[in-house]
């Protein structure tokens, strides 16, 4: 019941209904060396500001989505299902 995330399926819902999936990052290619995978596994931008993130609406539609959020103010600027964005 804290800040709200606009779920594309369910509308504005409390962040506590969601599971946080971390910042959106592209994985290395399957041919990348182990060192790149370790970096991918651990290193984070951890932005103090706007970043794109994964969220799963656990207590609602149970779908994954992405949100663009300011991590300092917790303001969510945009949220979408990844499939919709690509179109």
């Amino acid at each position: 019941m804290s800040f709200l995330i606009p779920c594309p399926n369910c509308g504005n819902r409390s962040v506590y209904e969601f599971r946080f999936g971390g910042e959106v990052q592209a994985p290395p290619t399957s041919a990348a060396p182990p060192g790149d995978w370790q970096k991918h596994r651990f290193n984070r931008v951890n932005a103090a500001g706007v970043q794109a993130e994964w969220w799963f609406h656990r207590s609602g539609c149970r779908q994954w989505m992405q949100a663009v959020r300011n991590t300092v103010s917790n303001e969510v600027l945009e949220s979408f299902l990844p499939g919709d964005k690509q179109e």
């Binding site: 019941m1 804290s2 800040f3 994985p27 799963f56 994954w64 990844p82």
Partner: protein, 872 residues
């Protein structure tokens, strides 16, 4: 109405609060102060100051001035011994010179001394005590509104009506007994606004929450609202109120003025005196001195005179030297003379109650002309109106004389002299000053003291009040009870479809998260866990046993890309799994760390049936959905866990038992190990998986949940002649341990990869691509870390789960599970050891009850190592 105050019976009139009734009965001292145990009387009469805290019906620190009386209430004073009137600890005020600000940091710096005096300090500190009280019901509720107005005074009612007229859904919150705000107790402001109150009550789209207070404005415009006595069955209800627009109309409250002896009993805020007079028809005194600037003080004096209180003098705060009296006030000493009285009425600064705006992220700034901190940049969905916005607030800040008897913070007995000393020591930022002196951190939450503390800090540092600034406003404010926050006691329980069948058999339950599972069965006979487990164990090994495994996660996976998805998320290969076959499934993250395990069965060409561990179902489903979402593959996953009851029938007699109930050919020739079939058992459609977690011939049977209890009873009935018994999780743990089968999360942790867990066989590195492949390939070569090994203890005894593996007196590993094995006639178990020790026949030392015992490492199962029995 009557209530008890210690051993006295107090008469109360309808509408009385506890404090009003006590005051009418002649009680003047209501509490003793925190540090010096100075007597304190009523001050604000509105629940804002710390002076009237008492124990009511067992609950400590209750503000008696806003607590309505009900028949039979039991009220007790707190923090005073033997009584409020005579408190032995009040001698501490004579030693105040020994306790300058921060004295405890500067004394007892030797640990031994501190250790000796600390218990004594603890004992005298603290306020209330918890006494036995009856059960109380607390409730939660959720509400949604377009516009929420906090405060039912004139401005709040206007705002609510305006919003209602715009057609918005409105909630109006008021913490007073009646709507109307100040008009209820300031008769000279005019009559009560009855017309507007009637319009509020008549408006269909205004929901009125009376006797309720807002304690916080959280992110997303969420208001925490506490409703007192919402209905006869509940004492408090916490409402989570989500608003689109919040209007803060919480008005202004009055704060004290700082001068020597300003805390004497009988020194009251003008609003307190008026509330007593008009809300409770109680005269706070007979002869009053009114302290305040001329205009404001004059109005108050008039109003008190109307109420029959004699006004001795009106005194300008600038001229006050001190209040006189020993515990109760008997006069005011000014530069011009002494005025005798039994009541001092303080017309203090009016503090706009706009903390909610700050909580919502608004900027609060000092306004010199108004003498108040006011909201300047409220966020777009929050606004302040009326006195909360500073309207009609015009304070002249009274002088703040430095004195060891001029109290700024009443909660913790912090004087203006204390604050000056602290600033001189370098605590010159308002936040450090607050932490060092504890001013503003007591039960009044800074209401009575914040402005004065800021004033002292500003003067001593040579800065303005605006530069000095406020401390952060944080919810909850006012405070809110733990009971209301926790809400009704409701622990969801997950019951398997056979729950009541277990209960009928006699069972000891095991909690696994929200699930309840049979730990072992008792047959209603009292016997030790060991004996019951052994009985169940023998049944499985010699006849057959039946266990409820309904808690296993079950996923129905369909769609063209199902095989591709399973190949990606599990380390094994599934796209080539023929229909009718089952395969063990191990799931790793990108680092090659084990996340979960289970089985994947291909029921038909286009349908997989996936099981997960009981605790990880949600995680696994989300993990799969995440991959689908990121790739856009055509896979449809349905969580069918609750739809199937599942049971595992295992043991040499399981085929004989099942054969009585089904036409399905159960011979190993047509239904071999690791095969699956859809078949009817006793007419019930079921999925049968031939797998062997406990190491015997057996079938895991999944059937529709509503038929599961019937099937469970039918199997037990059919197996009766063979000695089939139900068995619980405790027995299953022993059976699987003899087979060295790993339980994810018990034998593995957040750092375990399959190579370390001795499960290299489950990883197909020749598969093109799957999650974790790169780092698993890397880990396959890296043997520097630990390994999970089996061991057989070489002497009697059983190591406890978690026992240490010891090398050269140092911790060098741990036992994850150990049990007495009837097959080995010794304790066996699994343990993490250094890779160098992970070889058959190596001896390791285990710490068992503080003693080191030898155990022999084995990399093979302890029971039926070749796996002959489960294939029979």
């Amino acid at each position: 109405m009557k209530f008890r105050f210690h051993d006295k019976t107090i008469e109360a009139q309808p509408g009385d609060t506890v404090a009003a009734a006590l005051y009418r009965s002649g009680q003047r001292i209501f509490s003793r102060s925190f540090k010096y145990h100075r007597p304190r009387g009523l001050l604000c009469v509105s629940g804002k100051c710390p002076n009237c805290l008492m124990n009511v019906d067992g609950i400590p620190n209750v503000r008696t001035c806003i607590t309505p009386v009900h028949e039979g209430l039991r009220v007790k004073a707190q923090n005073a011994y033997p009584s409020l009137e005579t408190d032995f600890l009040s001698v501490t005020q004579r030693f105040d010179w020994l306790m300058p600000v921060g004295w405890y940091y500067k004394t007892f710096t030797r640990p031994a001394m501190w250790h000796a005096v600390e218990p004594a300090i603890r004992k005298v500190a603290g306020l209330g005590e918890i006494l036995p009280s009856g059960p109380r019901e607390y409730e939660h509720a959720w509400m949604h509104a377009h516009t929420v107005v906090i405060g039912g005074g004139w401005a709040g009612m206007q705002a609510a009506l305006a919003a209602a007229e715009r057609g918005e859904q409105v909630v109006l919150i008021d913490d007073q007994v009646a709507l109307g705000g100040q008009a209820c107790y300031r008769k000279r402001m005019g009559p009560r606004p009855d017309a507007i109150i009637a319009r509020i009550r008549a408006a269909a789209n205004i929901r009125l929450l009376q006797n309720s207070y807002c304690f916080g404005l959280y992110e997303g415009n969420l208001l925490g609202v506490l409703q007192r006595a919402p209905h006869p069955g509940a004492s408090e209800r916490l409402i989570h109120l989500r608003a689109q627009q919040t209007v803060v109309a919480s008005g202004a409250y009055e704060a004290p003025i700082v001068f020597p002896n300003n805390d004497l009993v009988g020194v009251m805020l003008s609003t307190g005196v008026l509330r007593l007079l008009h809300l409770h028809r109680v005269q706070a005194g007979k002869r009053a001195v009114v302290v305040g600037k001329s205009l404001q003080a004059g109005e108050v004096a008039e109003e008190l005179r109307d109420g029959g209180i004699e006004i001795v003098a009106i005194v300008d705060p600038d001229t006050i030297l001190k209040a006189t009296g020993s515990s109760t006030v008997n006069g005011i000493q000014t530069r011009t003379g002494h005025f005798s009285c039994d009541l001092v009425v303080i017309c203090g600064p009016r503090i706009p109650d706009n903390g909610f705006v700050a909580q919502a992220g608004g900027r609060i700034e000092w306004s010199e002309p108004q003498g108040a901190f006011l909201p300047t940049l409220p966020p777009s969905n929050v606004s302040a109106v009326g006195d909360a916005s500073g309207e009609a607030v015009a304070n002249t800040i009274a002088p703040l004389p430095t004195s060891k008897r001029a109290f700024v913070c009443l909660c913790s007995d912090v004087t203006s002299a204390d604050l000056c000393d602290a600033v001189a020591e370098g605590f010159n930022h308002i936040e450090t000053l607050k932490r060092y002196t504890t001013a503003t951190m007591g039960p009044c939450q800074g209401r009575m003291c914040q402005l004065s503390a800021i004033g002292v800090c500003a003067r001593e540092t040579g800065r303005s009040i605006g530069e000095t600034g406020m401390t952060t406003s944080r919810p909850p404010n006012p405070g809110v009870s733990l009971g209301a926050l926790a809400g009704p006691k409701h622990h969801p329980l997950r019951r398997t479809p056979m729950h009541y069948a277990h209960q009928d058999l006699g069972v000891v339950w095991l909690d696994m998260g929200d699930w309840q599972r049979p730990r072992y069965y008792t047959d209603h006979l009292a016997a030790s866990e060991e004996e019951r487990v052994l009985l169940e164990y023998r049944a499985v090994r010699e006849a057959a046993g039946l266990i409820d495994v309904s808690t296993l996660g079950k996923l129905d996976v369909r769609g063209a890309d199902s095989g591709k998805l399973l190949d990606k998320v599990y380390t094994h290969r599934f796209s080539d799994l023929p229909p009718g076959r089952v395969r063990y499934a191990l799931m790793c993250d990108e680092g090659g760390i084990i996340l979960d395990d289970g089985t994947v069965s291909r029921i038909s060409e286009d349908r997989y049936f996936v099981t997960t561990t009981s605790g990880n179902l949600d995680f696994v489903q989300q993990w799969l959905e995440w991959q689908i979402c990121a790739t856009g593959w055509d896979v449809h996953i349905t969580n069918v866990t609750a739809g199937y009851g599942a049971m595992n029938l295992a043991g040499p007699k399981s085929r004989d038992t099942l054969r009585k109930l089904t036409e399905c050919d159960l011979s190993s020739g047509s239904f071999p190990y690791m095969a699956c079939r859809e078949a009817k058992i006793k007419g019930i459609p079921a999925i049968l998986l031939r797998i062997g977690f406990v190491g015997e011939t057996g079938w895991e049977i999944h059937c529709p949940a509503e038929s599961a209890e019937g099937l469970w009873r039918a199997i037990l009935g059919a197996g009766h002649e063979f000695g089939v018994r139900p068995f619980g999780v405790a027995t299953q743990r022993l059976l699987r341990l003899e087979k060295r089968h790993v339980i994810v999360g018990v034998d593995t942790d957040a750092l375990t990869n399959p190579y370390e867990a001795d499960m290299a066989w489950a990883v197909k590195l020749d598969k093109k691509e799957f999650i974790g492949k790169t780092l698993l390939a890397h880990a396959a070569k890296d043997r520097s870390r630990e390994r999970l090994v089996g061991f057989v203890l070489q002497s009697p005894g059983v190591p406890e789960d978690g026992a240490a593996v010891v090398v050269d007196g140092q911790p060098a590993g741990r036992v994850t599970s150990a049990r007495y094995s009837p097959a080995q006639l010794a304790a066996v178990g699994l343990a993490w050891v250094k890779t160098s020790l992970a070889q058959d026949g190596v001896f390791i030392d285990l710490r068992v009850n503080g003693e080191l015992l030898k155990a022999k490492v084995t990399m093979k199962p302890f029971y039926d190592p070749e796996g002959v029995r489960l294939r029979q």
